[in-house]
């Protein structure tokens, strides 16, 4: 049986307008190259251009006649032609004082375009500081007794890179396969790390901690306040651009998608602060960061809860805690349940249920310790409210002695 030649049949059956090999098809074929996110194939020219774009000569970059294929990132004028960018602006309900050009600049990572006038590095530094500042003051004023390790974990959960990357994904920000001047400015542009690269192999050097090469030295949680960053991780000492080696400045290290997305969210925060002011930035923070649910009580891990509770009661001059059985069922059965309460004097500090008396007692002690650490004042006021016009005089907030050391 002979095969039906679909192509010829359809071309004769269909009207000329619907034929696929018409002018439309040819146009699509030719415009495919424009849609590609590949950088320009003319490599020597782009390298030459890159040399011209080193830091000193940033003032007169991008003359009008330069082809967009030779640019490392989309030109500024392209921001108004991108539907993606306008949609993102509208979707995030960004203030109208934040122009599309700035939003387009927020999407350009330093690994794509190393010129600081066209990438988001300055915005992301500002946005990172704002985010961590607002998150820290909210956390410390809301839960003044939290232990430091929980503060670090909570900050990481609120404004850590993983959360910010998840936010960028939820906002619908897509990333370009390769950065370039012809790419839609609504796409996140960065140079990707090669697949299969192990990021944890090389040791971290140049941190702010002294004796960083001593791996076996004990790192106390209090030293993290001084030496480490806001998440308790090693902090890289910053090098001012004037002291950078020229080849160091030329090399753009590829980044992961998580880093690039987090930098984008931070830079949006910084851009809102610069264009729309402090109140808009605060509102953006409350709507996008604080609105995320986080159960802080699940971040605790006690190894010796009963001992810690005894120490706490001794420190605060309470009566020593006593464990009492409130109720029980099935003591002689396979699945007993004991409800144990821990009392200090006449007051109940915590209550826990377990399948054995030691378990119920330990859980009750954990509940009591969490009750202590998760104390929250009735009215929370953060220091940044003083920046508003006509703010009431500042009253000192409750700050605790610190965590129980045992």
């Amino acid at each position: 049986m002979k095969r039906l030649q679909l192509q010829r049949w359809s071309s004769s059956a269909l009207s000329s307008r619907a034929r696929t090999d018409g002018r439309l098809q040819r146009q699509l074929c030719s415009s495919k190259r424009f849609q590609s996110t590949d950088a320009t194939p003319v490599q020597p020219a782009s390298e030459q251009l890159a040399e011209q774009q080193s830091f000193p000569s940033t003032t007169i970059r991008r003359p009008v006649r330069v082809s967009k294929y030779k640019l490392p990132s989309p030109p500024v004028q392209a921001a108004h032609e991108s539907a993606k960018l306008a949609a993102l602006h509208a979707r995030l309900y960004l203030p109208s004082r934040l122009p599309l050009e700035t939003l387009a600049r927020c999407l350009i990572n330093p690994s794509a375009d190393r010129n600081p006038q066209f990438n988001n590095s300055s915005f992301s530094v500002l946005g990172h500081d704002l985010l961590t500042n607002y998150a820290t003051e909210h956390l410390i004023c809301t839960y003044p007794r939290l232990p430091l390790s929980v503060v670090f974990a909570t900050l990481y959960a609120y404004v850590g890179p993983k959360t910010l990357a998840a936010m960028a994904r939820e906002w619908g920000v897509e990333h370009a396969a390769l950065p370039g001047g012809e790419v839609d400015p609504g796409l996140l542009q960065y140079k990707r790390v090669d697949p299969g690269t192990d990021l944890s192999t090389e040791p971290l050097v140049g941190t702010t901690r002294p004796n960083e090469d001593q791996k076996h030295w004990r790192k106390s949680i209090n030293s993290s306040v001084v030496y480490d960053n806001e998440f308790g991780d090693p902090d890289l000492a910053g090098v001012p651009p004037s002291e950078l080696q020229p080849e160091q400045a030329q090399n753009t290290k590829p980044v992961t998608m998580e880093q690039a997305s987090a930098d984008f969210v931070r830079s949006v925060m910084g851009a809102i602060y610069l264009h729309a002011g402090r109140a808009a930035a605060k509102r953006f923070f409350e709507q996008h960061i604080l609105s995320r649910h986080l159960d802080i009580s699940s971040l605790f891990n006690f190894s010796e809860p009963t001992r810690d509770l005894v120490r706490l009661c001794a420190r605060e001059n309470y009566e020593p805690p006593v464990a009492k059985i409130i109720s029980e069922t099935g003591r002689r059965s396979r699945t007993p349940v004991f409800v144990v309460g821990i009392f200090s004097g006449k007051d109940k500090l915590g209550e826990g249920a377990g399948a054995s008396l030691p378990e119920a007692r330990a859980r009750a002690a954990v509940a009591a310790l969490k009750g202590w650490y998760l104390y929250s004042p009735v009215e929370v006021r953060v220091p940044s409210t003083m920046e508003e016009e006509g703010a009431a005089p500042w009253k000192p907030v409750y700050v605790d002695l610190g965590e129980v050391v045992s």
Binding site: S297, S298, F300, N301, F302, S303, P305, Y318, V322, A323, K324, I325, I326, S327, V339, V340, G341, F343, S344, G345, K346, D347, K348, L349, G350, E351, G352, A353, G354, L357, E359, A360, R361, A362, R363, V366, A367, A368, K370, G371, W372, L374, Y375, S376, P377, V378, Y398
Partner: protein, 204 residues
């Protein structure tokens, strides 16, 4: 928090007729169609018990209230105990009248069978003797023996002195010999027990 109301089985006709949707429909059981105990209807009848008292109507029979009958659960950790509130917190005065109906702590049974009374009877000279004995002859004077002799707990002996490194090494070998006889089941059960104990601190 935990209130236990014993639900008594009452004859069906004695039910209050205020909440028709909760009431069981009465079905007369004819004597000739009696079947064995496990019949479907009998099982279902057994399960028809009077609803909890807190579900019922208040005395004035008005329907203007919300039934709030939460399942028994552990209290929220975000509810700070009154003792842990700072002195100037407003919640202290608000909760003051809740103390009246709290159960008496003294009447509740203790978790431990016997409360160890702390005696504080050992003097510094006793402690030096404990240390001397344990240092000179660690094989004879173990923690348990010293505790029995000085009438204190083995934990106190461990707090005031350490055994010699040779004794530690021997004890470690003994433990290894014992553990080498464990089979897969016992080893796994011990590991599981340790993991379960760690999960108490995470409140899982």
């Amino acid at each position: 928090m935990a209130t236990f109301i014993t639900v008594s089985r009452r004859p069906i006709m004695g039910m209050p007729f205020g909440i028709p949707f909760l009431l069981p429909s009465y079905e007369p059981v004819s004597l000739e169609s009696r079947r064995n105990q496990s019949s479907y209807r009998r099982t279902k009848q057994r399960l028809r018990i009077k609803p909890d008292a807190s579900f019922g109507l208040s005395s004035d029979k008005s329907h203007s209230h919300i039934v709030y009958n939460p399942p028994s659960s552990s209290p929220s950790v975000y509810h700070t105990p009154t003792k842990f509130l700072p002195a100037n917190d407003a919640r202290r005065s608000l909760r003051a009248d809740n103390y009246a109906n709290a159960p008496a702590v003294e009447e509740l049974p203790s978790v431990f069978k016997s409360e160890a009374e702390k005696k504080y009877h050992l003097t510094p000279s006793d402690v030096t003797e404990i240390r001397k004995l344990r240092l000179n002859d660690p094989m004879t004077w173990s923690r348990g023996k010293l505790a029995k002799r000085f009438d204190c707990s083995p934990l106190f002996i461990a707090q005031v002195c350490q055994t010699s490194p040779q004794k530690k090494e021997i004890q470690k070998q003994v433990l290894e010999a014992v553990q080498s006889r464990w089979g897969a089941k016992r080893r796994m059960a011990r590991e599981d027990r340790k993991l379960r104990k760690e999960s108490w601190g995470r409140d899982e």
